[in-house]
C-alpha cells in the first residue's frame, strides 16, 4: 500500500443547504400547524376563504412537517454522517445540488397546490401526480448519489447507521411508488389505481411505514451517529443496534392494518396488523435503551450541553411514542382511541418529541462545526429546550385527555347498551374544547422555541465562514480497501437463502394448495426446517461467512433488505387484490356514482372533508347505534380513492345519504352554525357561486372505466344530459324549499354525492350491478 496521504474534503455545502432548509420549512410547517389547531377552536380563522380552510391546510401542515421539515433534516444528517462513516466525499456535486433544489421545488409545488385544492385525497399522499413523479425522480437521485458514494468508500465496513439509511431509501421508494400509482384524468387530477378496501390497505401500508421508514429509521441512523459523537463515547451496545435494525426491518412493515381495526377490513389482516404491532414493542424499546444508555457516564453533560438535552429527550419521546403505538393497536384500546385526538397526541409525541428534538439537537451540534464558530447562545438553546418540552407536554396531555374523553362519550351507552348516552355529536365536541385550546398553547410554545433556534442559527452564521470537513486518507485506499465481493451468485446461492426459499415455498403450498398439495407442503415445511437446522449444525461456518460478507457488500445487503420489507407488504396486498373484488361480493355492492355525484365526490376530496369525517361505521355497538348499520366492504368497492378517513372531528358520513333533505345540506355548507349550533366546521360559500366542471367528466369517467368501475360507454353529450337532468331535479327541490341556486352550482353536485352515501345494491335480492339498474 502506498503511504502517500491526501486530504479529502467533504461536500458539506449541501449539508448546510439542507440544514437551513430544515429551519425554514420547520417554521412554516409548525406555523401552519398552530393555524389549523386554532381553526378547530375558532372557525372564524378559516376566513370563509377556500384556500385557507382547515381541510386544505391540514394536508399542507402534515406534508410540510413530514417531507419538508423532517425530510430536509434527514438529508442533512445522512449526507453529513455518511461521508464521514465511509471516508468518501459525496459521489457527485451535481446530483447533490439536483437533490437539494429538486426537493425544495417539490415542497414549493406542494405549498401552492394543496391550498388550491389539488389533492389525491389520501393522507400524507395528497400531492398530485406530476409532483409524485418529481418526488420519485428526486428520490432516485438521492439513492444514486448515496449508493455511488458507498461504492467509492474507503471504509469497507458499513456502520449500523448506514444500514438504517439503506433501509430508508429502498423502502420509501417502494412504498411511495405503489401507493401513488394513479390514472391521470388531467394535468392536475388523477384517480388512484386501487379502490375501496384495496386502497385502504395500500394507503395504510404506506402511511404506517412512512412513519416507520421516513420518520423513524433515518432518524435512528442519525441517532446512532450523532449521539455517540455528542456524548463522545460509542454506542452502548453494537450488538443491540444490529438486533434493533433487523427486527425493525422485519416487523415494522407488517403493522399497517392496525390503522383499520374494527372496520370492514378482513379479520385476518386486522389480526396480522395487531400481532406485528405488539411485536414492535421489543425492538423499539431496545433501540431507545441503546440510545439512552449511550449516555452512560455522560449524564452530567446534560446539565450544560443543549445538544445532549435535546437528543436524550428525543430518545425518551421515541420510547414513549413506541410504547403507545402498540398499545393503540390492541383492538379493544383502538375501539376507544381511533378517530379521536388520542391518535393526534400519539403522532405529535413522535413528531415534536422524537423528530423535532432530534432535529434540534443535530442542528445545534452541526452549526458550530459547519460554520467554524461557537453557537451564538447556549442559554437561548436551553430556553428552546424547556419551551419545547413544556409545549409538547401540554400538547400531548391535552390530546390524551381530549381523545379519551371524547372516545368515552361517543361510546357511552345506557339502558343495557341499547341507547347512546350522548346522542348529539356536538356535545362531545364541546366537552373537549378546553383541551383543544390547550393544544394551541402547547403548539405555540413549541413554535416559539423553534423560532429561538432560527434566531440562534442566524446569529451564529452571521459573519461566520462556512467550512468543509476534511479527512486524511491514503491515496490508494479506495482500491485497496474494497471489500470481498459477494456477487449475485454468492448473494443468493448459499445455505441461508436456499433454506428460506425452500421453507417459504412449501409453506405457500401448505396454505394455498388443495388437500394433497397442502399435506405435501406441510411435510415439506417441516422437512425444510429440519434440514436447515442440521445443515446449520454441521456447516455453521458457511452460514456465518455469508452473513459476514453480506455486511460489507452494500448491493447484496440492499437487495435482501428490500426483499425483507417487500415480503411484508406482498403477503397483505396480494390476497386482498385477488379476493376482494367487486365480482366476489355476495351481500352489498355500492351503486356506481352518477356523473353529477362523481363530480360532487371530487369536490369532497378537493375540500379535504376526509380530514374530519370518516365514511366507515365500525363493527362496534356505539358506532352502529350512532350512525346505522356497520359498513360492508362492498359499499366502497368503487371508491377511488377510498374515503374511510382516520379522524372524526365531525360525525361519520357513511350513511348520511337520505338522512336530511337537500336544503339541510345546502344551508349546512353555507353556514354550519345555522344548522348545527356550536359546530366548528368551516363555511363553504364558494360552493354556491362556483360552477361544476362538467367538461372534465368524460375523462374522469373514462379513467374510472379503465380502473374497472362498470360505467357504460357514454358520450360527452350523454354525460352532460345526465348531469343536467339530476342537477335540475335537485335545484328544483331546493327552490321548493326556499333556496334559489343554479343547477350548475358546485353545491348541487356535492349534495347529489352526499345524498347517495350509504345507498347500496342488495346482491342477495338480485344480481347485476349497473347505473341503469339504479335509474
Amino acid at each position: 500500500m502506498s503511504d502517500r496521504k491526501v486530504t479529502l474534503e467533504f461536500n458539506d455545502k449541501v449539508v448546510r443547504q439542507f440544514l437551513l432548509a430544515t429551519v425554514v420549512w420547520g417554521i412554516v410547517g409548525m406555523l401552519v400547524g398552530v393555524l389549523v389547531a386554532t381553526q378547530l377552536n375558532f372557525w372564524q380563522v378559516n376566513f370563509n376563504t377556500a384556500w385557507l380552510t382547515f381541510g386544505r391546510l391540514r394536508p399542507l401542515h402534515t406534508n410540510a412537517v413530514i417531507f419538508a421539515f423532517v425530510g430536509n433534516m434527514m438529508f442533512a444528517g445522512i449526507y453529513y454522517s455518511t461521508q464521514r462513516l465511509v471516508k468518501a466525499r459525496l459521489a457527485s456535486d451535481f446530483l447533490s445540488q439536483l437533490h437539494f433544489w429538486g426537493w425544495q421545488a417539490i415542497i414549493l409545488a406542494a405549498a401552492v397546490t394543496l391550498p388550491l385544492g389539488f389533492s389525491r385525497g389520501k393522507e400524507y399522499a395528497e400531492l398530485i401526480w406530476p409532483i409524485n413523479i418529481a418526488v420519485a425522480l428526486i428520490w432516485v437521485v438521492f439513492g444514486v448519489n448515496f449508493f455511488w458514494t458507498l461504492a467509492r468508500r474507503r471504509e469497507p465496513s458499513l456502520y449500523v447507521a448506514i444500514w438504517f439509511y439503506i433501509a430508508t431509501i429502498v423502502t420509501v421508494a417502494m412504498l411511495y411508488i405503489v401507493n401513488h400509482l394513479s390514472l391521470p384524468t388531467s394535468f392536475t387530477h388523477s384517480y388512484p389505481v386501487f379502490g375501496g378496501v384495496q386502497d385502504g390497505l395500500v394507503q395504510w401500508w404506506y402511511g404506517h411505514n412512512a412513519v416507520a421508514f421516513f420518520l423513524t429509521t433515518p432518524i435512528l441512523g442519525i441517532m446512532y451517529y450523532f449521539i455517540p459523537k455528542a456524548a463522545e463515547r460509542p454506542v452502548y451496545s453494537y450488538r443491540l443496534s444490529v438486533i434493533h435494525f433487523w427486527s425493525l426491518v422485519f416487523v415494522y412493515i407488517w403493522a399497517g392494518p392496525h390503522h383499520l381495526l374494527n372496520t370492514a377490513l378482513p379479520g385476518w389482516l386486522q389480526t396480522l396488523g395487531m400481532t406485528f404491532s405488539l411485536m414492535l414493542w421489543a425492538p423499539s424499546w431496545g433501540g431507545m435503551l441503546n440510545g439512552l444508555l449511550t449516555l452512560r457516564g455522560a449524564w452530567h453533560k446534560l446539565r450544560t450541553d443543549p445538544v445532549l438535552k435535546f437528543m436524550a429527550a428525543a430518545v425518551t419521546f421515541y420510547g414513549m411514542a413506541t410504547f403507545e403505538g402498540p398499545l393503540l393497536s390492541i383492538k379493544s384500546v383502538n375501539a376507544l382511541a381511533h378517530y379521536t385526538d388520542w391518535i393526534i397526541g400519539h403522532v405529535h409525541a413522535g413528531a415534536l418529541g422524537w423528530n423535532g428534538f432530534m432535529a434540534a439537537g443535530m442542528i445545534y451540534w452541526l452549526l458550530p462545526r459547519l460554520w467554524n464558530k461557537p453557537l451564538y447562545s447556549v442559554p437561548l438553546a436551553n430556553l428552546h429546550f424547556w419551551l419545547g418540552t413544556v409545549g409538547i407536554l401540554l400538547y400531548v396531555a391535552a390530546m390524551w385527555t381530549s381523545g379519551i374523553m371524547q372516545g368515552l362519550m361517543l361510546n357511552a351507552t345506557t339502558d343495557n347498551g341499547t341507547v347512546l348516552a350522548y346522542p348529539n355529536f356536538i356535545d362531545t365536541l364541546n366537552a373537549i374544547r378546553p383541551m383543544m385550546l390547550m393544544r394551541v398553547i402547547g403548539g405555540a410554545l413549541y413554535l416559539v422555541g423553534f423560532l429561538l433556534l432560527a434566531y440562534n442559527a442566524f446569529r451564529t452564521i452571521r459573519g461566520a465562514q462556512a467550512v468543509n470537513g476534511t479527512v486524511e486518507v491514503f491515496a490508494e485506499d479506495e482500491a485497496e480497501t474494497a471489500p470481498e465481493r459477494l456477487g449475485a451468485y454468492g448473494t443468493f446461492v448459499n445455505p441461508p437463502v436456499f433454506f428460506v426459499v425452500l421453507g417459504v415455498g412449501f409453506s405457500c403450498a401448505w396454505m394455498f394448495g388443495s388437500d394433497a398439495v397442502s399435506l405435501g407442503g406441510f411435510i415439506g415445511t417441516l422437512l425444510s426446517a429440519a434440514l436447515a437446522f442440521s445443515h446449520w449444525e454441521s456447516r455453521g461456518k458457511a452460514w456465518a461467512n455469508w452473513y459476514d460478507r453480506l455486511l460489507v457488500n452494500c448491493a447484496p445487503f440492499t437487495i435482501l433488505t428490500f426483499i425483507a420489507v417487500a415480503a411484508g407488504g406482498l403477503i397483505q396486498i396480494i390476497p386482498t387484490m385477488v379476493a376482494h373484488q367487486a365480482t366476489n361480493l355476495e351481500d352489498r355492492r355500492q351503486f356506481v356514482y352518477t356523473p353529477l355525484e362523481l363530480a360532487g365526490r371530487d369536490m369532497y376530496v378537493r375540500e379535504g372533508c376526509y380530514n374530519c369525517h370518516s365514511q366507515m361505521i365500525r363493527t362496534l355497538v356505539p358506532d352502529v347505534l350512532r350512525y346505522g348499520d356497520y359498513s360492508r366492504l362492498g359499499e366502497s368497492i368503487y371508491d377511488h380513492p377510498y374515503q374511510w378517513g382516520s379522524k372524526r372531528t365531525g360525525p361519520d358520513l357513511a350513511r348520511v345519504g337520505g338522512k336530511y333533505p337537500n336544503i339541510w345540506h345546502l344551508r349546512h355548507m353555507e353556514d354550519p352554525r345555522a344548522i348545527s349550533s356550536g359546530s366548528n366546521m368551516p363555511a363553504y360559500p364558494w360552493l354556491l357561486a362556483n360552477r361544476t366542471d362538467v367538461t372534465a367528466l368524460p375523462a374522469k369517467i373514462g379513467a374510472m372505466r379503465a380502473l374497472g368501475v362498470p360505467y357504460p360507454n357514454w358520450t360527452p353529450g350523454q354525460i352532460q344530459a345526465r348531469v343536467d337532468e339530476q342537477a335540475k331535479a335537485i335545484a328544483a327541490d331546493l327552490r321548493a324549499a326556499g333556496a334559489t341556486v343554479a343547477p350548475e352550482a358546485e353545491i348541487v353536485a356535492l349534495v347529489a354525492y352526499l345524498q347517495q352515501l350509504g345507498k347500496f345494491e342488495d346482491l342477495r335480492a338480485k344480481s347485476g350491478p349497473t347505473v341503469a339498474s339504479r335509474e
Binding site: R84, L85, K87, E155, S157, Y159, V160, A161, Y225, P228, K229, R233, P234, V235, Y238, R239, L240, V242, I243, W246, S247, F250, V251, W254, P266, G267, W268, T271, L272, T275, F276, M279, R296, G297, P368, R369, N372, P374, L375, G469, V471, P496, V500, G503, V504, S507, W510, M511, F512, A544, G568, I571, P575, V578, A579, N584, L585, D587, L633, G634
Partner: protein
Amino acid sequence: MFRRLVLEDSVTLVTMVAFITALTIYLAFAWRALRMKRPQITRFENLPFDTPTPAADGGESGRPSGPASASGPSARFSATT
C-alpha cells in the same frame, strides 16, 4: 361477506406463518449479532470516531479520549483511540 370464503379461511394461516418466518429470520440475525467477536464490535462501534470532528467552540479536536484505565465500554473505546 365474499363468495371466496375458502380463500378467506386459508389466509388466516398467513398470520401464523408470517410470524414464524419473520421470527426465524430475525432470530438468525440476532444470533449472529450476539455471536459477534469483541474486536469486531470494537471496530464497528468506533467507526463514527475514525474521522476527526472540529470542536463546538470553533477549535480543533481529534478523536475524543476515554479513560485508559476504565473498564467496560469506555475501555473498549479507548483501545482504539
